[in-house]
Symmetry: C2
Subunit: 447 residues, 2 copies
């Protein structure tokens, strides 16, 4: 298991060239644990350690490196070695790696690979990010329906070293159409003389290569599959997506959704590996746009400057009121963005959702308004108490309705609802909330 | 595959008692697809459909129902039937189901189960939510090191119907200590006469039953395992957690983190299945606490009421300024909450993180402040321009520092950092931002 305490030991073994011990580490430990160790080593040390395993083992370890270490390691080894390593990698890991390399590196490496491998890489590289095709692997196990179970097991045994998984195998016809599916569990439970076509399941859930990766991940999660077949537009099987890719997709998408809610763009590297300028860049556009939208509040307040001059007390409650409104709007927006992602709500539900959220907002405002009425009356008198509590009810109702409708409207016009989430809603609600507040104030104070 | 268009057909088959067709649906379709259909049926229809499959098939379908349908179905069937169904369920699905039932239902069902099953359920039920023990299953495959590969394969074949997975098997000693691990892939690649102890991997990554489920999920995700063994405090193996449970945990935790960022509690049911009062309850406490914290802003403004009376223009920029501050704080808080979850940052990094975030905040403030200087100068004169741009720099620096330090401090005192995220930070930053703004204004205006 990964244990930083062992790092000095490995260093010593490398210095003293303890071939046997190092070979043991490379064969016995999990690739992720080996990568963990190597993160703490220099590039030369890391390659010295890796060289004690064969190429296929090195290829297993490589995908577990951090993006930064990976880059260092690629630069620290000859192109010849790197191309051998690439050939030994699983197809999806290889494409992942090449996607992170710059174009010159890729162009330097590709000619060194066999033609078939090159074509496979080109095909996988051409799928846009976030599409199922970009996370699939082409090294899946395929069977024919005329095979016996015994033949199929023998074939899987032979192919095991090159396949991403042999626990699921897909049955294809002559034209590579997907017609059935068997698991290794089905195979070892069946009689070896049975035919694949008699034991295969024909109701195979499949995804298209151009489907969104998050949608695919949720489909796999729904059915508890280990892997799912990916087909092209003519139902030809072209790859599989496995549970581990799905887990990675889900973690990545969750991270993106979460940071976008905080009005930042996801970082490409780890936090401490990102420069201050990268951090700045991930936030400045968002903050700038939000600030621009917030100038609306200055305009609204300018309109009511005369009112403010007469009753300065009104300004005391501005941050409280818009704070509450912003939070109520964020609550609705977050809830609905979540429900859109899990299909609990869809874009046709606009009026139903807004009707519910408006009621929730009204009740929230009513609860807070009742408290505010009592407290503000005691300290600032009846006029301010009535103005503030009425405004709280109006602003919460408004904020919840706006907060709920914006993500749905975004979906309708094809924008990711996560983008128009909390911070955006808050800013919109601020300006309209102020308008409501001053209109109520003028009416109550008769000015 | 799930297709609502088929619903009328199934209804008709049920009405006409087409036993053969219904039995085919129950055997051929994926359990998740059957559950999808049954969601659209009445309780009686759903049970009529289910009864065309055997009990073990019914048990497979049951966990795919929504919580509401599940409850209806349990109430719509006799206790005898339900207990037979429970016995046939996988151990983790059974415990999940019982956790969602009320205490009277559980007490009614438990006596009908065999003693061993009852004890297993009691043991699993006693793990607190969010701990690894509460999502594990006890029906894993165990081997002994003296067995041959051939014997092991035979055993797995025999046990396959009762085990959660036979793709991973764990090697235990006499005292049920975990000493090794083999995959079915290893087994079918090895010679049948080999001994398990010679082919097993001894470096088995394990988790403790009382570890947090999200931590466990991330460990499995890191190593790309299909399943991970769970041990007690004495390293006795007590269960496994499989990739599908991990996917569910990750989806659930992501959903919780996301809604908490929007200052709401996660809903127990689907959005439309939750009453308005439930929606209200998930938000009102948060909103109330935030409103209470926001009264700080009223206090700060009261202190500067005289200044406001002299220069009403100052109040025009209050929403803009605290909006920008809140957003900058939310950006830092979101980034750091994320980094804490993925271990990119830990609680010892407080000063390092705050130092970076303060610099990012300063640069954000400087960028916005430069624009503000020019625009405000043009419309409101030099004094307001200087006050606002200086305040933006100060408030952004402050907001980023506070936003970054609050989640880390929360972790230090053992509070979930997601709870003190964006909305909380915004509220704190509002009050301090106003203080800074008025102090700067007084200094510049000399009042």
């Amino acid at each position: 298991m990964s244990n930083p305490l062992l790092l000095p030991e490995i260093r010593q073994m490398l210095a003293e060239k303890e071939t046997q011990g190092l070979a043991e580490i490379m064969t016995e430990l999990h690739p992720a644990s080996i990568a963990d160790f190597a993160e703490g080593l220099t590039v030369e040390e890391a390659w010295a350690l890796l060289s004690h395993g064969d190429v296929s083992r090195q290829a297993e370890v490589f995908p577990f490196f951090s993006a930064e270490k990976e880059q260092e390691l690629i630069e620290g080894v000859g192109r010849e070695n790197m191309s051998r390593l690439l050939e030994a990698m699983s197809h999806d890991d290889r494409v992942d790696l090449l996607k992170r390399c710059d174009k010159t590196t890729v162009d330097g490496l590709l000619p060194l690979l066999a033609k078939a491998e090159r074509e496979d890489i080109r095909r996988l590289l051409h799928f846009p990010e976030h599409q199922a095709g970009s996370v699939m692997t082409t090294d899946y196990a395929a069977l024919r329906q005329g095979q016996t179970v015994g033949e199929a097991i023998d074939q899987l045994r032979r192919e095991a070293p090159d396949k991403e998984t042999i626990y699921y195998a897909y049955v294809l016809d002559e034209a590579r159409h997907l017609i059935g599916f068997v698991s290794l569990r089905d195979l070892i439970l069946a009689d070896t003389s049975n035919l694949i076509k008699d034991i295969m399941r024909e109701d195979v859930v499949r995804v298209r290569a151009d489907q969104d990766q998050e949608e695919v991940a949720r489909t796999l999660a729904k059915y508890d599959f280990l892997a799912m077949p990916v087909v092209d537009n003519h139902d030809h099987m072209i790859g599989i997506i496995t549970y581990d890719d799905v887990i990675d997709v889900l973690l990545e998408e969750a991270a993106e959704d979460i940071v976008r809610q905080g009005a930042t763009e996801p970082l490409e590297k780890d936090y401490f590996a990102s420069s201050i300028l990268k951090l700045l860049r991930s936030r400045v556009v968002w903050l700038f746009m939000l600030a621009l939208a917030a100038t609306l509040t200055v305009n609204v307040l300018s309109v009511f400057e005369a009112t403010l001059e007469k009753v300065v007390t009104l300004s005391l409650f501005i941050p409280l009121l818009i704070g509450v409104g912003g939070n109520a709007g964020a609550q609705s927006a977050t809830t609905i963005v979540r429900c859109l992602a899990t299909d609990e709500v869809n874009s046709r539900d606009l009026f139903r959702v807004v009707a519910r959220e408006a009621r929730v907002g009204f009740l929230l405002g009513f609860t807070l308004g009742t408290f505010a009425l009592m407290i503000v009356w005691a300290f600032f008198g009846s006029d301010m108490a009535i103005i503030l509590s009425t405004s709280l009810i109006a602003v919460c109702t408004l904020a919840s309705s706006v907060g709920a409708s914006m993500p749905i409207l975004a979906t309708r016009v094809g924008v990711d609802p996560a983008v128009v989430s909390a911070p955006f809603v808050t800013t919109i609600v601020d300006a309209t909330g102020l308008l409501v507040y001053f209109l109520i104030a003028r009416a109550v104070l008769n000015i």
